[in-house]
Symmetry: C2
Subunit: 365 residues, 2 copies
DNA sequence: CTGTTAGCGCCTTCAC
DNA sequence: GTGAAGGCGCTAACAG
């Protein structure tokens, strides 16, 4: 009825409600906590009315202080710019919703200092657990977490010396899948392009698996494989790396489309474009932008691109991808964390989920 | 020294530190709050040592409870899938960092029910303010916020009946800019494509501005304009709407590239492709995907696409865009909110920031 | 069934 | 300079 004044009034407290309902705080507390059976219908009605009248909402902070658990969990994200991250987040949110948790989302924006700061902040807010999609940092930054600290589960990448559950893509299988696909498609020059991988376990595994499959080739014409490192944080470095790539592409005969088709004779059976295997979406985007700028709209006739991750532009440009089960990864991570919070003590385990190859025009012309 | 046991130990409290340092809680509190001048160097040293030894971190919740301010602000997001949102978020984070605030990020994932739930949750955590990129809902959902409730600032869209600061794109100017660009480029069939806009102020303004510019045309051949509504939440509806579009495109003579150029004669001066003005990136993506599927890789020879928002795939596909100053929007929103939290009482104001037209191949062949 | 009491971890008078 | 005491909003024993 009464219109709200412009100045924000003090929120009602449990004491206010108790007074308004003509009873003690305990009864209110009981009502709030669903111990509804022990309250007389009459009292309950009064309480409900009072709550309604005062627009009362229990103070979660105070509850947390008292109970020692505030239902908050931290979600530390390395890079929200990466579609992977956003998708994982969806799973996290859904799971949190289902389990009555509230995720505190922290975005480190690829800065180690940020990561440190947020981790410490989360600690300060006494989150009950943390899900970490860490930057490639050493254990020390994560000291407050895992093992003896607050429960943690790692997403996508593990951290040396940190004992915690991990959930992510089965990187080995995914990289193998992609490499074999390119091999099967008949490409004979295959580059694996990846950000600096010394610090990041998932990149490491992907790169290793790529090299292993390449060396394990048997049969006819062996395809050449090599790894190109692209440090996206350093534009000049990127430039330099891409130069090597350009040279190789320039040296490769054009795709048969124009030449061979008109000539009729199949004189160059090996004249297939260079294939690029991007270790993740940001790398793939960087490559695509560069190639388009250099080779024009039909860059895909000169280069085949395959990427782990399945960004929204992949379908649009016809780029083949390996889709990660991102939603499941996020969901599972929360479930695991929840178990830990509830006291599960089994030793740390890794959950690897399979990726799905989505073949598009880029690798199947 | 001692290795951390597997079970998480209780965190040290201020009392523990006081005991460890052989002093009272008050001194610890003073130390924590920087009232360092009133402490004897000797005591200060002991406190520092104790804190170090116990790895003590003050409990933010308890502080908040006592002080009545917990430095938490809510950030309610309609759709993290939209690159716009992520970019705004970057600005928000930077500003929060600078102002010592901690954003509690809530993702409604386009569900009104979620929005309601999160808003109530934020209230419950006693956030000091909220930044709302609301769904197209009525005031009632936002009742706890703005006006008499907790301070709020709206991002991108205003809400009827809700008194609060707003910051976002200058939608009118942006839509005019885009429409004029298409007109200047000589397109004579221009469709404005937008999600249902009754509930969302920004969409409304954009659509109105479009129509106004179209009706205000003077001079030679008037271009035809029309509005197409695309309800992305309803795939079948989308399908139906796109059919009308397809018919128009099919009826439009092919671009001069193949026909006219060979014919030599400029028989059809008006034969320009249909131009599509997408009201935002999700719409643009939907259109692009559909057109590519229907008209093949060279769909852009049949349709010109212009979009508000500048997603990462725009550069890749050569689509003209109007870039929003997303980072600034986020940053400014937090600044405004901070002012309100500090008690500024001026009446609600709107801050409109200009968009930037980025012309690419799609509208300038 | 209901109310009283004592804290949760911290900050803030107010004395010493 | 320093410390003791009370209370923020809530819950969890205890009584009645």
């Amino acid at each position: 009825m009464s219109s709200t004044p412009l100045a924000a009034r003090r929120r009602a407290t449990i004491t206010d409600v108790a007074r308004e309902a003509g009873t003690g705080k305990t009864s209110i507390s009981r009502y709030l906590n669903g111990e509804t059976s022990v309250l007389s219908p009459e009292l309950r009605a009064r309480i409900e009315a009072a709550i309604e009248r005062l627009d009362y909402q229990p103070n979660q902070m105070a509850r947390g202080l008292k109970r020692g658990r505030n239902r908050l969990i931290g979600m530390l994200l390395a890079d929200l710019t990466n579609p992977y991250t956003v998708e994982v987040l969806q799973g996290v949110e859904a799971a949190c919703h289902a389990l009555g948790l509230m995720p505190l989302i922290c975005h480190a924006a690829n800065e180690v200092e940020m990561e440190r700061r947020y981790l410490q902040l989360l600690t300060t807010y006494r989150v009950e657990g943390v899900i970490v999609n860490a930057l490639g940092v050493r254990e020390e930054t994560l000291r407050p977490v895992g093992g003896g600290g607050i429960p943690a589960v790692l997403v996508d990448r593990s951290v040396d010396g940190l004992t915690a559950d991990m959930v992510g893509l089965d990187n080995r299988a995914a990289a193998e899948l992609g490499t074999r696909h390119l091999l099967d498609a008949g490409f004979d020059e295959i580059w694996f392009v990846v950000q600096p991988f010394e610090q990041v376990s998932s990149r490491q595994v992907r790169e290793t698996a790529f090299r292993e499959v390449m060396s394990a080739q048997t049969g006819g014409g062996m395809a050449r494989g090599r790894t190109l490192v692209l440090d996206l944080a350093d534009p000049r470095e990127v430039e330099r790396s891409l130069c090597t790539l350009d040279r190789t592409i320039d040296a490769t005969p054009r795709a048969p489309a124009d030449a061979a088709r008109h000539a009729g004779a199949d004189t160059a059976p090996k004249a297939r474009p260079v294939a690029l295997f991007a270790a993740n979406a940001p790398v793939a985007l960087c490559l695509a932008l560069h190639l388009k700028a250099r080779y024009g709209d039909d860059w895909q006739t000169r280069v085949a691109l395959l990427s782990i991750d399945d960004p929204e532009w992949a379908e649009l440009t016809g780029v083949t991808t390996i889709r990660q089960p991102t939603y499941e990864i996020g969901y599972r991570a929360v479930e695991l964390l929840h178990e830990r919070i509830e006291g599960v003590q089994t030793s740390a385990r890794d959950y690897l989920l399979p990726g799905e190859l989505i073949v598009r025009a880029s690798t199947s012309r």
